[in-house]
């Protein structure tokens, strides 16, 4: 009889690489992630259930007190990011309004880019305007980094969270490391 609790998580990235002079690029910890889809008439009810106000404008996010975050990705699409032990899936399962909630916790990998020059590091591969005026703290957007699709979320003036699909995380991680080197110069 095999040990039933033996399956352990294996993160695709290792936090053992050097970053730039002023910028650090590190893998984010595990998280619960839900791809949430719903029409405008369901937003109020879903917001109440989730304990945050689902954003309805492009590039915006909402973060609840406990850290649960909702990133606007499209007119009917949000990415929810929460603690690894979050009950958000169960909460949504109880919602009696029309919506789609799909667990993508393992589909995505998070990478934290922080320090002076974090914006320039991402600008090495992302064509969005990341100035504070155009992309203030709290802004989030599905965009590109080099040759892949990513979500960029500005969590502070000098800190960003990048989310990408798991098999692209090695590319994103290496790309950001490479770009970070250029930003200390």
């Amino acid at each position: 009889m095999a040990d039933m609790s033996s399956a352990t998580r294996l993160h695709p990235l290792r936090a053992d690489r050097q970053s730039g002079r002023t910028v650090s690029v590190t893998p984010a910890g595990d998280a619960t992630r839900i791809s949430l889809r719903a029409r405008p008439d369901a937003v109020a009810k879903l917001s109440r259930l989730l304990g945050l106000s689902l954003p309805t404008r492009p590039k915006s996010t909402a973060v609840a007190k406990d850290g649960r975050a909702a990133l606007w990705l499209g007119p009917d699409e949000w990415l929810l990011i929460d603690a690894p032990d979050s009950d958000v899936a169960a909460v949504l399962a109880r919602a009696d309004v029309l919506h789609s909630a799909v667990d993508v916790s393992h589909r995505n990998v998070g990478i934290i880019v922080s320090g002076e020059g974090a914006d320039r590091t991402i600008s090495g591969g992302c064509p969005q305007d990341l100035s504070l005026a155009a992309f203030p703290v709290g802004a989030a957007s599905r965009t590109v980094l080099g040759k892949i699709e990513v979500i960029v979320w500005r969590t502070g003036e000098d800190s960003f969270r990048i989310e990408c699909w798991r098999s692209f995380s090695e590319y994103a991680y290496s790309f950001l490391q490479e770009s970070a080197k250029d930003c200390g110069i």
Partner: protein, 993 residues
């Protein structure tokens, strides 16, 4: 020989801005030389009295330094840091010297001073423009075998490096309110004016320092400061402003749509020892609200006989070498001009103690303060005269001067350098790239920016504004500067100029008066092109190659155009201007490619179980961007042995396979089943929860687009699988139809390909192996039959467990959240190993499915195969009234007889394995070309069948069961028998085992 510490015998004490103590050692063609920090290679060579720096492209004529900027057509050299970091065709006028720089001349053999290729110059009457279009026409075969290879070997400039570039290149996207291109007086004023309003400004200039023409002007002040000091102070001030980015050594090379401008910043080309992780260049991709073009103007040379001799250069270049680098280009410098600005250069040289024997001016009555000033300094001015020819070969030694109109006495004047100016060509390259239309300024014979197509404005010399004060005012008003005012004094007006050939190089002559130095095009060649019938400037350009070298004719376009217009008897604007294209100056491949090298060339996608496969020594097969384990060789096994073992093990015991790359889409919503009804040929409404079905997806035209197994997890939730390669396009296909055709449906699609690691366990012992690891799912045949799906736990983690098969064996596909993939794989492998569980790779998977006749979309189908053709009619819902492709399937040609259908092939000799792609014929005795009736789509050795097996698409294949067909191959014809597509367990009993 000068002392090794001297920075050159032509360095004039007290002149220029370089520091005499800061010497830099470099080599040119192996000769050790010394220059000063801040020298370009050109200024350093001239300081050392070296004018001859290369041989020309076609005639191998000795060439010197024409200019002091990026327009340089002649002084192209090879710069080598090491074997991998060597660059040909570097303009000596742009390359800054650094300690240890190694420069070599090009296009000469065995040496620069004695070059065998220069015989081309003697044979030049036989090598006119367009000679290769005519000379090498006959005999036809010789073009490919003789002429082209020979011409290719003889042509071309410079030698490409033989090793991969080891430098790093960076990329940066940037956004700004205002991009200012050019850091001369106009650009600095615009940047300053805008910056003071708080705008976000990027200012770039291709030179190491800002200043533009102010670097060589003398006697000019701005805001009471010496103009260059003002430029330095302004640049420093801008650098200190947080809303301004000042980029020197940065060329704006391309102006694209919506104010998107490409810049290349040269970061380390001027450094002796660049830091290890310093990029060589950085590409800036700038999106600007507004662009100010302050790109200045480029001086033109005079077109006269032997105007290409080393030592003959642009007057402004000589002035820059003197006033900035402190270098005199000669000791006895003649001047040839049609324009005032050359006088300023002559005056500066004269005041620096250089002999100016003569100023030859083609104008009859040049009248301007600089003319008087030159005369007052005792310089002889020969107005209404022309230089008919230059003497000297490797360096100009004399000029022959005659009155313009002919007649009169010819004088031969000894010189060791000649500076010239035919006037100034506004740099409208970027403006033109922005799709702006140029307008002809007839009074000054120049093209100026006309209608703008984008939000950009041209200021200063590039806009035809010659006066310095007017330039500053124009720049400030262009950016709506509020408080900033700048007052200038001094400066020589750029009055005068000519385009076309100078006297003595007219239509009645055959002299070599060069228009385009880099491509060796003379005035005579342009006229020949017109005589040959080229009446459009675009044709003249291509016939002569005028302006087609890497300098893009910065100095030659206007002359070429004027000569063609004269020959055609048309005004210049009627002949037209050729199109300016990016890049403005050559751009390295490295900067364009930048980060996309090595590991970042393209994403490499690895499955969550990749590390395990790699540890087993499995080779990987590339499937799109994915790496998939191909097979798992054991000690002493070759590929075939390993694959045979894996195939047999799956059927006799069990195999474990990483299927994580399969595309997965979660379809959620009350209309999910309705949506799938529309996207697939199969019926879905009645599929029970917990059951699976193999689905086929068509395009509108009725051809197979993708296939896969779909499981129903709940009334409103389906788990769709797609082929590995099809995952992204199937998602887009579905989303496209949902948004455009079926927006009334309440359903959403989410890609879950990467949420799940998929572990296929296939074979008679599959259930026995996984049973001990599974919780909460009854695995019995009755509770969980073939084609069903259950949710539960395996190894303590959540799973979606599918009972399905792509091998024909009873089997499972275990889906677990990706991060658990490897741990679960290891647990299953450990549990199964004692029972003979064997890892198998993609190759064995391909064979096992072919033994069962399961198709692979894209291998056994090619976008012209319907479900009927593929033998999958059973997968079409007979009672369905609508789905994508339903009308396509009724097209006359899709229901007509004679279509190719998927069949099996058995070779008469069971050991012969057909080649995939091989053509099939009914009668091998036909003469070639035979009538081909089909081709092999899949072919393998099947250890389980003990023979070769193949699938093929054959015309009317299903009617040919038992027929013998033929596969003609280079070493003989192979006989095959047409069979069904199932080679193993025809009844399919093993699925339910």
């Amino acid at each position: 020989m000068s002392s090794s510490l001297s920075s050159g015998s032509n360095r004039i004490a007290g002149k220029g801005r370089l520091t005499p103590a800061k010497t830099v050692r470099f080599t040119f063609d192996g000769q050790n030389l010394t220059g000063l920090e801040g020298d370009t290679l050109a200024s350093a060579l001239l300081a050392n009295g070296i004018h001859l720096v290369g041989r020309s492209f076609k005639y191998h004529r000795p060439r010197g330094i024409l200019s002091a900027g990026s327009e340089e057509p002649n002084a192209l050299v090879d710069i080598e840091r090491d074997k991998a970091r060597r660059q040909p065709n570097v303009r000596a006028t742009v390359q800054e010297i650094y300690d240890g720089l190694k420069a070599k001349s090009q296009n000469r053999w065995p040496s620069l001073t004695f070059d065998v290729g220069s015989v081309n110059d003697l044979f030049s009457p036989m090598l006119p423009a367009g000679f290769y279009y005519k000379t090498f026409m006959w005999p036809k075969f010789a073009w490919k075998s003789i002429y082209e290879p020979k011409i290719r070997a003889a042509a071309g400039l410079g030698v490409v490096p033989g090793e991969a570039d080891t430098d790093r290149y960076a990329n940066r996207f940037a956004h700004c309110d205002l991009l200012v291109v050019g850091g001369g007086a106009a650009g600095l004023a615009a940047a300053l004016g805008a910056a003071e309003t708080g705008a976000k400004v990027i200012l770039c200039d291709e030179q190491p320092e800002m200043g533009g023409a102010l670097r060589y002007e003398s006697g000019v002040t701005i805001d009471g400061l010496d103009a260059y000091a003002w430029a330095e102070a302004t640049a420093a001030r801008l650098r200190n402003m947080s809303n301004v980015t000042v980029l020197s050594r940065t060329t704006a090379f391309g102006y694209y749509a919506q104010n998107f401008v490409g810049l290349v910043e040269r970061i380390s080309d001027h450094l002796s020892r660049p830091a290890a992780d310093m990029p060589r260049e950085r590409l800036w991709q700038v999106r600007a609200r507004k662009v100010v073009l302050a790109t200045g103007a480029i001086e033109r040379h005079m077109v006269f006989a032997n105007n290409d001799r080393p030592g003959i250069m642009l007057a402004s270049a000589a002035r820059l070498f003197l006033n900035h680098h402190g270098v005199a280009v000669g000791r006895k410098v003649g001047v040839y001009t049609a324009n005032d600005s050359a006088y300023a250069a002559a005056i500066d040289l004269k005041r620096a103690g250089i002999d100016i024997p003569v100023i030859v001016d083609t104008r009859d009555n040049p009248a301007s303060p600089v003319v008087e000033e030159a005369r007052a300094l005792g310089i002889e001015v020969l107005a209404g005269h022309a230089v008919f020819s230059a003497g000297g070969k490797r360096r100009v030694s004399s000029i022959q001067v005659k009155p313009n109109k002919g007649g009169g006495n010819e004088r031969r004047i000894t010189v060791d350098a000649l500076i010239m100016s035919a006037g100034w060509t506004p740099s409208v390259h970027l403006f033109s790239q922005s799709r702006g239309k140029v307008a002809w300024d007839a009074a000054n014979e120049r093209f100026l920016p006309g209608d703008h197509a984008q939000d950009c404005v041209s200021v200063g010399a590039c806009n035809g504004t010659d006066d310095l004060q007017a330039t500053l005012d124009e720049a400030l008003s262009a950016v709506a500067a509020s408080g900033t005012r700048l007052a200038a004094s001094g400066g020589s007006g750029w009055v005068g100029g000519m385009v076309g050939s100078a006297p003595g190089a007219g239509a009645d002559t055959t002299v070599k008066a060069f228009v385009d130095f880099q491509n060796d095009v003379t005035a005579k060649d342009v006229r020949l092109a017109v005589r040959e019938g080229m009446h459009s400037i675009e044709h003249v350009k291509r016939f002569t190659t005028n302006g087609m070298a890497t300098d893009q004719g910065k100095t030659s376009n206007m002359h070429g155009l004027a000569i063609a217009a004269e020959a055609l008897g048309k005004p210049i604007p009627a002949v037209g201007l050729t199109t300016f294209r990016a890049p403005f100056t050559p751009v390295t491949f490295g900067s364009i490619v930048n980060n996309a090298r090595h590991g970042l060339f393209d994403p490499t996608r690895r499955t969550p179980i990749h590390a395990w496969h790699a540890a087993q020594g499995a080779p990987f097969e590339d499937v799109g961007q994915w790496k998939r384990a191909w097979y798992y060789p054991q000690a002493g096994e070759d590929m075939h042995a390993a694959i045979n073992r894996e195939c047999v093990a799956v059927r006799n015991h069990a195999g474990i396979f990483d299927a994580s790359t399969l595309g997965k889409i979660e379809v959620v919503g009350p209309d999910a089943a309705k949506f799938l009804e529309l996207l697939y040929t199969n019926p879905w409404e009645k599929l029970g929860v917990g059951r699976c079905r193999y689905g086929i997806m068509l395009r509108e035209d009725g051809f197979i687009y993708d296939d896969g197994v779909v499981g129903r997890l709940a009334e409103d939730r389906f788990h769709v699988t797609t082929t590995t390669g099809g995952a992204p396009r199937v998602m887009h296909h579905m989303e496209d139809y949902l948004q455009t055709e079926f927006p009334h449906l309440d359903v959403w699609l989410t890609s879950t390909t990467e949420q799940w690691a998929v572990i296929a366990v296939q074979g008679p012992k599959a259930r026995q192996i996984i049973a001990p690891l599974v919780e909460g799912i009854d695995l019995s045949n009755e509770a969980m039959p073939h084609m069903s799906v259950r949710e539960g736990r395996i190894c303590g983690v959540p799973t979606r467990l599918f009972r399905m098969s792509f091998t024909g064996e009873a089997g499972y596909e275990i889906n677990v959240p990706a991060d658990y993939g490897q741990a679960v794989w290891e647990a299953v492998h450990a549990a199964g190993k004692p029972l003979g569980l064997t890892p198998y790779g993609t190759e064995a998977m391909h064979i096992l499915r072919a033994e069962k006749g399961y198709i692979i979309v894209g291998q056994d189908t090619d976008g012209t195969v319907t479900p009927h053709d593929a033998g999958l009619s059973w997968a079409i819902g007979k009672n369905k009234t609508d789905y994508v492709g339903i009308r396509g399937l009724l097209r006359r040609d899709l229901v007509a007889p004679g279509r190719k259908q998927l069949v099996g092939l058995r070779t008469k000799n069971p050991r012969t394995v057909l080649e995939e792609g091989a053509q099939i014929v009914a009668n091998p005795n036909q003469p070639v070309p035979m009538t081909m009736i089909g081709h092999v789509t899949s072919s393998y050795w099947s250890e389980n069948c003990g023979r070769s097996i193949a699938l093929a698409l054959v015309v009317d294949g299903t009617k040919r069961m038992g027929e013998t067909l033929y596969v003609p191959m280079p070493d003989g014809v192979i006989e095959v028998e047409v069979t069904g597509t199932v080679f193993f367990d025809e009844k399919g009993e093993r699925l339910n085992g």
